[in-house]
Symmetry: C2
Subunit: 210 residues, 2 copies
Amino acid sequence: MNPIRRRGLMLVLSSPSGAGKTTIARKLLASDPQLAMSVSSTTRPPRPGEVPGVDYNFVTIERFREMVAAGEMLEHAQVFDNYYGTPAAPVREALASGRDVLFDIDWQGTQQLRQTARSDLASIFILPPAVEELERRLRGRAQDSEDVVKKRMAKAGDEMSHWPEYDYIVVNHTLDTSVASVQAILAAERLRRERQVGLPDFVNGLRSRT
Amino acid sequence: MNPIRRRGLMLVLSSPSGAGKTTIARKLLASDPQLAMSVSSTTRPPRPGEVPGVDYNFVTIERFREMVAAGEMLEHAQVFDNYYGTPAAPVREALASGRDVLFDIDWQGTQQLRQTARSDLASIFILPPAVEELERRLRGRAQDSEDVVKKRMAKAGDEMSHWPEYDYIVVNHTLDTSVASVQAILAAERLRRERQVGLPDFVNGLRSRT
């Protein structure tokens, strides 16, 4: 009863800010020891409490540019003066040894991942159940001006326009159901034929004795 | 909190005889009111205890041939002097109204379904965990001669060679785990973007108010 050797997968979660994605990701990680969060690299300085190698890999601009030039970033983006990106090496290593990697990235990052790693990718877009719920969550974050909330809502609307690029769509009515949905997607994706790379040997072993 | 309108899917289970597929199918059907078994049509006479419309639709050879000629069979096969096939109309109706249909068919039937209904199909191949287990089940069915058991084993080996044509592979180590695996696949397939046909309206509704 040896388990069949398998290749890991990249599970991407995207959503408009305020749809509940980060909470879902946290619950999913806590429930599944085979799944690890991808750690991004960034050129911005650490904030108080951030742990290098856990929250981010903190690197210099020179090192970041080197990695991009050498094709060592699966995806990257510039936000104001800072760069953010996903180093390829730890992801490749995880997949080869049958571990899965979770990505909490936006539609632009997902588009880049798709180009470099299509067959390893399973992508999920989380939608809010209603616009009132989205607004409540975006408003609840801090005591922001009406103007700031409006800008966030407009940005959320933009992000939402990219749902047709994703494999699966989960509407986040209740947290527990959404976590169960993402767990089912992960379980199913692990059972896809092409991810169970040990199957040819396994079936040959069975057939040789029938 | 209206559920998003969705299109049903065709869930195909195939396996060599003796791998446990029929028991898995029965448990799955009992656990899921949204899922119904596809009822085949056949030209063979009913056996004692078989209920028309539940076990099979019993039809004449003339009617069967008419249906095949009119494209009203999704797949069909001849076994000795009898014909078996899946009528298209009830399946099309189920899918359009968001209900899912389970198929317990072999690799030949699955190949035909794939040609007529690729995007509605999710196919699962069930494998036995070990050849000893397969033999035990094939032997356990009745007091058959060694020769009959050997022929069944050879047929199972043939059937198994078709695993690479399936989307998902489940190795039936224990019944409960296998049922949970098939349930996860069904849950995930229901969350695929293209099956949630009400999504464009739903997202437009959200976005119009951001």
